[in-house]
Symmetry: C2
Subunit: 335 residues, 2 copies
């Protein structure tokens, strides 16, 4: 294992500290190392619904990279590929509360769901109203290594962006929750791994893939997908992913879509754009139009090589909210 | 070799096509496949100095990711790790010319320098005044595999950003060239490779690194650096890079600096922030202050794992120009 790290146990603490230093204009790090979270510089916005997300580290820029105006108020990083405990989630919820309640955005992994649930109960004791959306956009498998039901993957970014814009325009908790739920209902993803990744404290790859093997439907922690197949062309691989996603979403003629191609961390941008081109052509063959596009590393698995394809069905309101200004380290436009 | 590609010979054409489709609000792709370049949507801005850069592909988002308002007017991608020929550079220069002349920003590699020189002569025959800045920020080695003198690496992004802002505010060609030259004079970089990368049409890694070996001072095409050393901690590696950079730049107490930590393509963001934290602490130990920070994948080497550290000495004018609005796919703020 060769990594740019010091102590494997300190990877999260050191990288979050560096992140907060580099972007002190946008974010602040909590001072309590036992309740580590990143929140918006300047603190909670009075009267605005607060948005909190979090989960195991190793998926950067998710989630801390999406803290800022128009998106998250706070993000809670756990150890690598390990859910944060309820305490820091509770602390982050408190920090994000501007008096209008807080939305928890949780990827569907058993540990995350349980810990956010406990944190929400603790927050209610502090008189903070919490509502939760559980993101489960991965169509690859039903039930998985760490999940009952479908896993939450790259679609989470779109839930955070669009719900964040709803909160920013002044929607109440009920409405922000409804918007987040609508995004989750209309978004589907599936990914592929060309290589495994190595968790720092484990010191060896989290699974084995042959020299000429790829895993279709990989999870973002290297959980098993649908099938292992021999290495194939970008067009063939994209065909597997896009067909599964578009079939599940029942994409039909006239649909207006957002197409996201997400890198797993170790994939050159040039390859993501090749996947994008093919995925877009396939959606257009179904008579749909791609109205918005997002291509890059947004929900990664450390240095894994691979990509995922995400499709969101848009309506006018979701499009407007997606286009609304956002000022975070990983997404930034319009302001 | 496992990659998300189709025909290795078509990687650049297919990825640039996908890029142009995904970001048609910001960029346009030339229609002539024999003169491939990406330019600002909407075309040249009348009366504004045009900025053109380019070079071998495989370093994305450099250069096409920096085409847009406040940065480049056109970018010319060659084959992977291979300079574009004069023809597309000439065509891009024509497309970027708004009547106020064009600045060529060229990384110091023999092929790039020659081909941009020829293109500039061709452009002069079209009555376009061209001035050139050759970027040579890499302190690792004097002369290299493809270079006489120092190589041009991640500092190129800062030259493009700051000169682009000067052109956008209406500076004439003389002044934009002076600003670009000033940035190049004040910027230094050095990188490290943990793994090699594989050029698609070569099909095998461009060099060999042992299981526990890293290369300090690596070039962005895998050219040899200063030395191979056993794998070390992030702090030790950052020590090598930052010391070389800061010594060469003669960083002293009171200096105001921009610190950039650039990923080589396959490095998790968390690792870049660990490097950032250590590099910043070392600069502060010298009594300098880090006034601006940039951390991410900006000048990559396909899927190489590794990073580079870049330091730019700021003055008030360079800081203002760096802060000025930029709207490109890879850098975006303030507008």
């Amino acid at each position: 294992m060769k990594k740019l790290i010091n102590d494997p146990q300190q990877v999260v603490a050191e990288s979050v500290a560096g992140f907060a230093l580099a972007h002190s204009d946008l974010v602040t790090m909590s001072q309590d190392p036992d309740a580590l979270f990143v929140s918006r510089a300047g603190g909670a916005v009075p009267g605005k619904v607060g948005l909190v997300s979090g989960g195991g580290s190793g998926h950067e820029p998710l989630h801390a990279g999406f803290v800022g105006v128009g998106m998250l108020d706070a993000a809670v990083p756990g150890a690598v590929f390990t859910s944060p405990t309820p305490d820091p989630i509770q602390a982050a919820t408190k920090a994000a509360d501007g008096g209008a309640g807080v939305l928890h955005i949780v990827k569907n992994y058993t540990g995350d769901v349980l810990n956010f649930e406990t944190a929400a109960e603790l927050a209610e004791m502090d008189d903070i109203t919490v509502k939760t959306v559980v993101v489960n956009d991965d169509v690859a498998v039903q039930d998985s290594l760490y999940t009952a039901g479908r896993r939450g993957v790259a679609g989470t970014v779109l839930v955070e962006k669009i719900a964040g814009a709803a909160a920013e325009r002044g929607d109440d908790l009920e409405k922000v929750h409804e918007i987040a739920t609508r995004v989750n209902a209309g978004v589907r993803s599936m990914g592929v791994a060309l290589t495994a990744c190595t968790v720092p404290h484990a010191g060896k790859p989290s699974f084995d893939l042959g020299e000429d093997e790829i895993e279709i439907g990989i999870g973002i922690h290297g959980e098993p997908g649908r099938e292992r197949i021999p290495a194939a062309s970008a067009d063939e691989i994209t065909g597997h992913l896009l067909t599964a996603v578009a079939d599940d979403l029942q994409v039909t003629s006239g649909d207006k879509l957002l197409l996201m191609v997400n890198g797993m961390g170790g994939t050159p941008a040039s390859e993501l754009y090749i996947v994008y081109g093919r995925a877009r052509a396939m959606l257009e063959e179904r008579g749909a139009t791609v109205e918005r596009s997002l291509v890059g590393n947004y929900v990664t698995s450390l240095e894994m090589q691979g990509a995922s394809v995400t499709v969101l069905r848009l309506d006018d309101e979701l499009t407007d909210l997606y286009d609304a200004p956002v000022v975070t380290t990983a997404l930034r436009w319009g302001a």
